[in-house]
C-alpha cells in the first residue's frame, strides 16, 4: 500500500523526480502498481471497472493487467482521486452541444507542467534556441484547454485572438525572425495549419532559419478540410521552408498528462519513460503482436489525479520499439439508415 499522499505538494514533487529517474520495466511496474492502488481506493468508477475484471491491488501482478478507463467515461463521471477537494485545473474535450465534454480534473497542474516540459525536452523540441509560436488561444483565453496550457508551460506567443487567427501578425514576426536568423518553433492543431496554408497560399514561401521546427497535434474534426498527413507535411515544408524531419506530431489528450512525439510524416511515436503505450486487441484485452493493429492504451504515471490507465479508440500498429499511430476508429461503421451516436452527438476532439 502506498504511503505517499498525492495531495501533498512535497509528495507530488518527489513523485515527479521519481518519474525522471531511470525507469526500467521493473521500476515502472512497481510505481504503476503503487499509483494503481492509490487510485483504486479513491476513484469509484475506476474501482468498479477493476472489480468487474477481478483486478484489485492485491491481485495485480503486472501493470499490463490494469484495466483501462475508456475515454468516454470522462464525459459521464468525475474521475478525481481527491474527493471533495477543489481541482486546481480542469481540462475539457469538446462536445459542447451535448453539454457533456470529457473532463480531466487535476488537483494542481504541477505534474502536468513538469512532464509537458520534460517530455518535450526529451524529444528534443525545447532546447532553448527556438522562439516559440502557437496557433492556439492563450491559456488565459482558453483555461480549459490542455493544449493551450501545455503551450503556456513552454512559453511563447499565441496567435489566436478573440476574432480568430492573426496570420498577418505571425507572418510579420516570422519574416523578422528569418532576417535575424532566429530559429522558430511553430505549434498548433493540424486544422490550424490547414487554415494557415490556405491563408498564405498567395504569398511567397518562407524559409525558416536552420534549427526551426513545426509541431502539429493532429485532428481536423470538422474545423477545416481534412488532408492526408503526407500532404499536410509536404505543404508545411514547402510554405515554411523546413525539412520533413523538422515537422513533428504530438500525440496527447486532455484525459492524460503525458505526450508522445513522432518526427516526419512516417515517424514512430516515442513515449517518455514514465508512460507506456500498449497496442491492445479489444477482443482479448491483451497486447497484439508486433506488426499487428490494435487500440492504443496508455499507462501514464504522471496522471496521478484521475486514472493512470486510459483506453482510447486510436488505432496503431505495434512496432518493435513502440507503435505507429494510424488514425482514430470511426465512431460508426456502415450504419446506413440506423441512427447512430454520431447523429446524436457532435464530433469530439481536444480543444
Amino acid at each position: 500500500m502506498s504511503v505517499r499522499d498525492f495531495a501533498l505538494p512535497a509528495h507530488r514533487l518527489a513523485w515527479a523526480k521519481l518519474l525522471l529517474a531511470p525507469l526500467d520495466d521493473a521500476r515502472f511496474d512497481a510505481l504503476a502498481r503503487e499509483l494503481f492502488a492509490w487510485q483504486f481506493s479513491r476513484v469509484l468508477p475506476f474501482r468498479r471497472l477493476c472489480q468487474a475484471h477481478g483486478v484489485t491491488p492485491r491481485t495485480l501482478t503486472n501493470f499490463r493487467d490494469i484495466p483501462a478507463m475508456p475515454q468516454q467515461v470522462f464525459k459521464r463521471e468525475k474521475l478525481f482521486a481527491h474527493g471533495a477537494r477543489r481541482p486546481g485545473a480542469i481540462y475539457e474535450t469538446s462536445g459542447t452541444t451535448t453539454g457533456r465534454p470529457g473532463r480531466q480534473h487535476l488537483l494542481a497542474p504541477d505534474l502536468y507542467k513538469f512532464v509537458a516540459l520534460a517530455g518535450a525536452q526529451r524529444a528534443g523540441l525545447l532546447d532553448g534556441r527556438a522562439e516559440l509560436h502557437f496557433l492556439t488561444p492563450s491559456p488565459q483565453a482558453a483555461p480549459h484547454s490542455s493544449l493551450s496550457a501545455m503551450f503556456g508551460f513552454w512559453r511563447g506567443t499565441f496567435w489566436v485572438k478573440h476574432d480568430g487567427f492573426d496570420f498577418t501578425g505571425l507572418r510579420e514576426r516570422l519574416t523578422a525572425a528569418i532576417l535575424d536568423d532566429q530559429p522558430i518553433g511553430l505549434a498548433g492543431a493540424a486544422f490550424a495549419f490547414v487554415h494557415l496554408l490556405e491563408d498564405w497560399d498567395s504569398y511567397a514561401p518562407l524559409r525558416l532559419p536552420r534549427g526551426s521546427w513545426v509541431l502539429e497535434t493532429g485532428g481536423f474534426k470538422g474545423r477545416s478540410r481534412e488532408i492526408p498527413k503526407a500532404e499536410l507535411y509536404g505543404n508545411i515544408a514547402r510554405v515554411l521552408g523546413v525539412p520533413d524531419r523538422a515537422i513533428w506530431n504530438e500525440y496527447g489528450m486532455s484525459e492524460l498528462s503525458s505526450q508522445a512525439y513522432a518526427r516526419g510524416p512516417h515517424g514512430r511515436h516515442a513515449v517518455p519513460p514514465w508512460a507506456r503505450v500498449l497496442v491492445v486487441d479489444p477482443k482479448t484485452n491483451r497486447e497484439v503482436r508486433v506488426g499487428q493493429r490494435g487500440l492504443v492504451r496508455w499507462i501514464d504515471l504522471a496522471n496521478v489525479d484521475s486514472v493512470l490507465a486510459v483506453q482510447t479508440l486510436d488505432l496503431a500498429e505495434r512496432t518493435a520499439g513502440g507503435f505507429r499511430l494510424s488514425g482514430r476508429l470511426p465512431r460508426t461503421e456502415a450504419r446506413g439508415c440506423s441512427l447512430s451516436a454520431d447523429d446524436l452527438m457532435p464530433a469530439e476532439d481536444r480543444p
Binding site: 468516454q72 467515461v73 486487441d281 487500440l295 461503421e333 456502415a334 446506413g336 439508415c337 447523429d343
Partner: protein
C-alpha cells in the same frame, strides 16, 4: 427471353424467384394497397367515378446504404414490379462487404427478364442519376442532404434517413421465455444494424431487473448459438462493443455478458431512461421508465423512431405517447425485422410515391 409486359407477369416472376421475400399473395395486396388496383399500371381502372391509370417511372435510381441489404432489395423489387429500369448504386467498398455481396447476389439470381431491368454501379453516376425519374435513397443524414441537393424539382426523392427502433415490455415480471426469445430475435437479426433493429428495451419502472436480465440473457445466448452464420467481429466492431461494456462497468451498471465473454451480444441495464444510441452488433440497453417519462426519455430521437416492438399489450395511453414521438410502426416482439410487404417504410407508401397518375375524365 420472353417479353414481359404486365405487372402480373413481373409479379409472377418475382414471387417465383423469391417466394419467401416476396410471397405470391402479398404482392397483389401491396399493389392494391398502394395503387388502388393490381392492374392500375396496365389498364384504366375506376377511381372516384373517373378512369385513372398509373404511370410507372421510366428509371429509378436506388442508393443503397452499407448497413444491410434488405432495404435495397425491397426497393429494387418494387421498382421491378413497376417495370421501371433500375439503377442500383451499391454501398461503397469501405462499407460492409456483406451488404454489397448480398445485393449483387439478389440481382444475379433474378429471372432474366427482370435482371435485364437492373444495372448496378459502384460509384454514383451523374448521368444515370440525372436521367432517373425517382431517387430512392437509404443512409445517413449527411448522405440524404447531399443527394437531395443533387435532385431536380421534377425528380421524386424518396429518402429513408436514419432511424431507431425500440422494444417495449408491457409486463416484464411475467415475460415468458418465448417472449424473451422474440426480443432476442429482434436484437440479433441483421446484427442489429437496421433501422428496424431495437437499440433499447424499455419497460415500466418497478420491474425486477435482475431476473428479467437473466431471462433475456439466456434468450440472447440461445438465439446467438442458433445463428447459422455468425456476423463478423472485426477490430472496429469489437472495439465498440468492448467500450460499451467497460463504460457500463465503470458507471456501475449491471452488465450481462455471454459465456466466455464472446462478442455476440451484450445486455446492459442503464438506470438512466434517456435514450442513447447503442453501438449495435448485439449491444442492447435495458431502460426502466416511470409513468409519464416517455416523452422526455425519447426526446433525443423524437421524429426518428421507426418501429416499437411490443411484448405484451400496449396501453392506449402509451400508444398515444409513442405516436406523439413520431413512431411509424407498432408490431409484436419478434416481428420487428419482418414487416409485411404492405408496410409503409418510415410511414411512406413508397411504391405509390414512385408512380404518377393519368386521369381520364368523362367526356361531356
Amino acid at each position: 427471353m420472353s417479353a414481359i409486359t404486365t405487372t402480373r407477369q413481373r409479379l409472377e416472376l418475382l414471387a417465383r424467384a423469391y417466394p419467401r421475400l416476396f410471397p405470391h399473395a402479398g404482392l397483389p395486396r401491396l399493389l392494391r394497397d398502394q395503387l388502388g388496383h393490381p392492374d392500375a399500371l396496365d389498364r384504366w381502372v375506376e377511381r372516384s367515378g373517373i378512369e385513372v391509370r398509373a404511370r410507372a417511372p421510366r428509371q429509378i435510381y436506388h442508393v443503397c446504404a452499407g448497413n444491410l441489404a434488405v432495404s435495397a432489395i425491397t426497393s429494387l423489387a418494387q421498382g421491378l414490379l413497376l417495370g421501371a429500369r433500375n439503377v442500383v448504386k451499391l454501398p461503397s467498398d469501405r462499407d460492409d462487404a456483406t451488404t454489397r455481396r448480398d445485393i449483387l447476389r439478389f440481382i444475379r439470381s433474378l429471372p432474366a427478364p427482370l435482371r435485364a431491368l437492373v444495372k448496378a454501379e459502384s460509384v454514383l453516376d451523374s448521368n444515370s442519376f440525372a436521367a432517373s425519374d425517382v431517387i430512392v435513397a437509404f443512409g445517413t443524414d449527411a448522405a440524404m442532404h447531399s443527394l437531395r441537393a443533387r435532385t431536380r424539382w421534377n425528380q421524386r426523392f424518396i429518402a429513408h434517413g436514419p432511424a431507431v427502433s425500440l422494444l417495449w415490455l408491457a409486463d416484464p415480471d411475467r415475460l415468458t421465455t418465448r417472449a424473451a426469445r422474440a426480443c432476442a430475435t429482434d436484437v440479433l437479426t441483421y446484427d442489429q444494424l437496421g433501422c428496424l433493429s431495437p437499440q433499447a428495451i424499455y419497460l415500466p419502472r418497478g420491474a425486477k431487473i435482475d431476473p428479467l436480465g437473466d431471462k433475456l440473457a439466456l434468450a440472447l445466448e440461445s438465439n446467438w448459438r442458433k445463428l447459422a452464420a455468425k456476423p463478423p467481429r472485426p477490430l472496429a466492431v469489437t472495439a465498440r462493443i468492448a467500450e460499451a461494456r467497460e463504460v457500463a462497468h465503470a458507471l456501475g451498471h449491471r452488465v450481462w455478458l455471454p459465456p466466455r465473454k464472446h462478442f455476440g451480444w451484450t445486455l446492459i441495464h442503464d438506470p438512466d431512461p434517456a435514450f442513447t444510441a447503442s453501438p449495435l452488433h448485439g449491444v442492447i440497453y435495458l431502460r426502466a421508465i416511470a409513468s409519464g417519462q416517455l416523452e422526455t426519455a425519447l426526446a433525443p430521437v423524437r421524429g426518428f423512431i421507426s418501429t416499437v416492438g411490443v411484448a405484451g399489450k400496449l396501453s392506449s395511453r402509451l400508444r398515444e405517447a409513442f405516436l406523439s414521438l413520431g413512431v411509424s410502426r407498432f408490431c409484436a416482439a419478434g416481428r420487428m425485422q419482418t414487416p409485411p410487404l404492405t408496410w409503409r417504410h418510415d410511414g411512406r407508401a413508397t411504391l405509390g410515391e414512385m408512380v404518377t397518375w393519368v386521369d381520364a375524365e368523362p367526356s361531356a
